[in-house]
């Protein structure tokens, strides 16, 4: 592999600033003196610009898919509840409802069983919602 080929392979990370300082210095020194690699560098800069042109956020996609993830994970009613609410998502076993009794069963959270022994698991806000 020629020095030019080695440098050429590093150019994408030279442009995004992801090279070690040694490699960065090597690339910088090489393109000072090599027309062909300077040309390659210009092309890499152009490709980067082309590929990363758009960086806006996607709130609608995020929320829509979150509701579907919740539903698929086992929450039938979640689609009608505000995203971010801590009220949804907890299905306690029957014995968990008895006041004062420690929860010994497992708690079904979003389609997954979480074993709870002795004390009730508290989420932020401490709110749970039973399902029959």
């Amino acid at each position: 592999m020629t020095e030019c080929e080695r440098i050429r392979d590093l150019l994408p990370w030279y442009v995004t600033g992801k090279l070690s300082s040694a490699d960065t210095a090597a690339v910088a020194a090489h393109i000072q003196s090599c027309d062909a690699c300077r040309q390659e560098l210009a092309e890499v800069v152009w490709v980067r610009h082309t590929v990363s042109a758009e960086r806006s956020e996607l709130p609608a996609v995020r929320q829509r898919v979150w509701r579907r993830v919740m539903t698929r994970a086992g929450f039938r009613d979640v689609a009608h509840v505000d995203v971010g609410s801590f009220l949804v998502g907890f299905r306690l076993g029957a014995n968990a409802r008895r006041p004062g009794s420690p929860v010994r069963a497992s708690l079904r959270v979003m389609g997954r069983n979480v074993r709870i022994v002795g004390s009730q698991r508290k989420e932020e806000g401490g709110t749970t919602e039973d399902s029959a």
Partner: protein, 168 residues
């Protein structure tokens, strides 16, 4: 702010709040990565959905030997490729809710650029996206793609040359 790794550990303990935090942090990234080679809003959303479900189910398998972002995008890549394969074989069942992606949400790129990117193989598209859009290091990109670093380099080179040929 909790680190991604701390969130994954908490998700492994079925912590829903942690899951939502991780979701909010990575959803756009996963969606855009999927979109970079699926090139179809609804399909990319399906990839996001399946990826996050897999994260929920497998968070306790995350070992911390890789970065969380690398791990999540690796899952997304498997989901996306699986989806494309099933679609090609005509096995994929359509999601119940069909909808048109809001055009304002799909990256607004020049039509010519869009066509040129679409003409690349998915291997070339995803490599371009990870390195230039996500600005991943060579090692991280290789980890997500599951290929040697040398292959990442050559894919980027050929993808760049193909784009230049189309557009310059």
């Amino acid at each position: 702010m909790r680190t991604d790794e701390a969130l994954l550990w908490a998700i492994g303990q079925a912590d829903r709040a942690a899951f939502q935090e991780l979701y909010d942090r990575h959803a756009d990234r996963v969606y855009r990565f999927a979109l970079s080679f699926v090139r179809n809003g609804p399909l990319a959303e399906e990839v996001l959905q399946e990826t996050m479900l897999a994260v929920w189910k497998q968070a306790d398998k995350f070992r911390g030997s890789s970065k969380a972002t690398t791990w999540i995008l690796g899952i997304a890549r498997n989901q996306a490729h699986g989806l494309l394969r099933r679609e090609k074989r005509g096995e994929r069942l359509p999601e119940e809710s069909t909808f048109e992606a809001d055009p304002a949400e799909v990256a607004e790129i020049d039509v010519r650029v869009k066509q040129a990117l679409e003409s690349l193989s998915s291997e070339h598209q995803e490599a371009l996206h990870l390195v230039f859009y996500e600005e991943m290091s060579l090692a991280d990109a290789a980890a997500v793609l599951g290929i040697p670093e040398g292959t990442v380099k050559s894919r980027l080179y050929y993808a760049r040359k193909a784009l230049a040929k189309e557009l310059l």
